[in-house]
């Protein structure tokens, strides 16, 4: 059964819609800057260039919702576009995120901690990860199924995976699937405590990389089976041709030295897509720019792509690490690579981590038929998706 991608939406530090993101990628224009997140002005962060108030206005909402929900709504609306409700096609939404409404919650709990009272509790009711999914489901007419996946940095990728699975098993015909995560002090403080930030712009696959920059955003795709495609008449933009999911089972936060989980995930995805490794034209890596991730991820890639490692890069050098949204944003970027027949570079490399097999540092225009994208989360959650041309 083919799973077609007929819609896409993305908001990130690169722009507020897909076209703006694409232009930034084509122009090598980073979205990461110092001072873009006011509570941490010294940090390089990939913030979306819309305040929460502006996002709320955009959706005619009162400002009670957290950034995760607002960003999700923005990208999901773009992906849904002008599709009509259907009475015969079963429609669902599956969305991933890791922080939920934490940007609002963390402000309200200060009062709760100090006085035992939290004032208006509505912002805290918007805390659960599923809240943003519920909001998105309301803009999808006749939406009958909603699910939220929370697997840290692989949340968005796993949501897309789950959507493919439910369509293939005949439970749904079309799904808005993806992920969203907004910035919060909780997350920034959390990653600070792990001492894995780069004090400068992150440099994935550079020999002197020093850690990640955080980002925020949301990415969604509209997936349809053939029955839904016949009814909607949409033009397919690409296909989800395979997925693989495995657990590294090594450490709560670090990857195993041999990248076992990563190898398994990539292997399963290629298997399911019935593709040989040489048929992959581009790998959009997880590439967080931590010492551990980049070294292990490339080692895992090399162990699987023994003939030749495809062109690879990390677009986190453009957006920062968007956590639960990253796998979904990067799926949209993989789709853009296919539609535009080009592969995107990694920014900020001065000294290649691996001289024999360096990451792509310039935009390359070529035929792109199959793109593999990795998402590796805390808790050993490793997911690989393959996006292919129709």
């Amino acid at each position: 059964m083919e799973i077609f991608i007929t819609g896409r939406g993305v908001v990130s530090a690169l722009g507020n819609n897909t076209e703006e993101n694409l232009q930034s990628l084509l122009n090598g224009q980073t979205g990461i800057s110092k001072g873009s997140y006011s509570d941490f002005p010294e940090k390089y962060i990939g913030a979306v260039k819309l305040s929460s108030e502006e996002l709320s206005d955009k959706h005619s909402l009162k400002d009670v919702y957290g950034r995760t929900a607002l960003l999700g709504l923005t990208a999901a609306k773009e992906a849904w576009g002008n599709n009509d409700p259907s009475s015969t096609c079963r429609t669902g939404v599956i969305s991933g995120n890791s922080v939920g409404g934490m940007d609002r919650t963390e402000k309200h709990v200060i009062k709760l901690i100090n006085t035992g009272q939290s004032g208006d509790i509505r912002p805290i009711l918007a805390h659960p990860c599923g809240y943003s999914t519920g909001l998105i489901s309301k803009i999808i007419p006749n939406c009958e199924y909603a699910n939220t996946i929370s697997t840290a940095c692989s949340s968005g990728a796993n949501s897309i995976m789950q959507a493919v699975k439910l369509i293939k098993c005949g439970r749904l015909d079309r799904v808005i699937a993806g992920g969203t995560d907004g910035l919060s002090n909780f997350t920034i403080k959390g990653f600070s405590s792990l001492m894995i930030f780069d004090e400068k712009r992150c440099r994935p696959f550079d020999a002197n990389r020093a850690g990640l920059n955080l980002g925020e955003g949301a990415g969604y795709v509209l997936l349809e089976n053939e029955k839904s495609l016949r009814e909607s008449g949409n033009t397919p933009l690409g296909r989800m041709s395979g997925y693989g999911i495995a657990n590294d089972s090594f450490h709560q936060t670090a990857l195993s030295p041999n990248g076992k989980g990563a190898v398994l995930a990539m292997h399963h995805a290629l298997d399911q897509a019935k593709l040989k490794s040489e048929e992959i034209d581009y790998i959009n890596t997880h590439g967080t720019a931590t010492e551990n991730n980049d070294e292990v991820e490339l080692r895992a890639i090399q162990s699987l792509f023994t003939e030749k490692v495809p062109d690879y890069s990390s677009t986190k050098s453009f957006t920062g690490h968007t956590l639960g949204a990253s796998g979904a944003i990067e799926t949209v970027y993989s789709l853009l690579a296919i539609i535009n027949d080009c592969v995107f570079p990694s920014l900020n490399i001065k000294d290649d981590m691996n001289k024999e097999c360096p990451a792509l540092q310039k935009l390359v225009r070529k035929n792109v038929s199959n793109v593999l994208t990795n998402s590796f989360g805390f808790g050993g959650n490793q997911t690989t998706l393959i996006v292919s041309k129709c």
Binding site: S193, L194, M195, H251, Q252, T253, A254
Partner: protein, 84 residues
Amino acid sequence: MSSEEKSLLKSHIINYLNLEDVKQEEIQDAASLFGDGLGLDSIDALELIVMIEREYNVKISDPSMGKEILYSVDTIANYIFTQK
């Protein structure tokens, strides 16, 4: 560091790492805390960096220095002493 100060350091280690079943007397001054010693790992190393900053106001901003500094109670004590 005096032996009382080292004793306090050991109690901080036990508290911050939730080593509920370990008594101060069981932690040898010069013995390795990681690997076979108390069996601590990389996350414990980060917790110890937090402990040293909070309790002694001494920062370790480069985690790669952590291995040497955090090797044993003695090495931690020496580092704190030299930074103050």
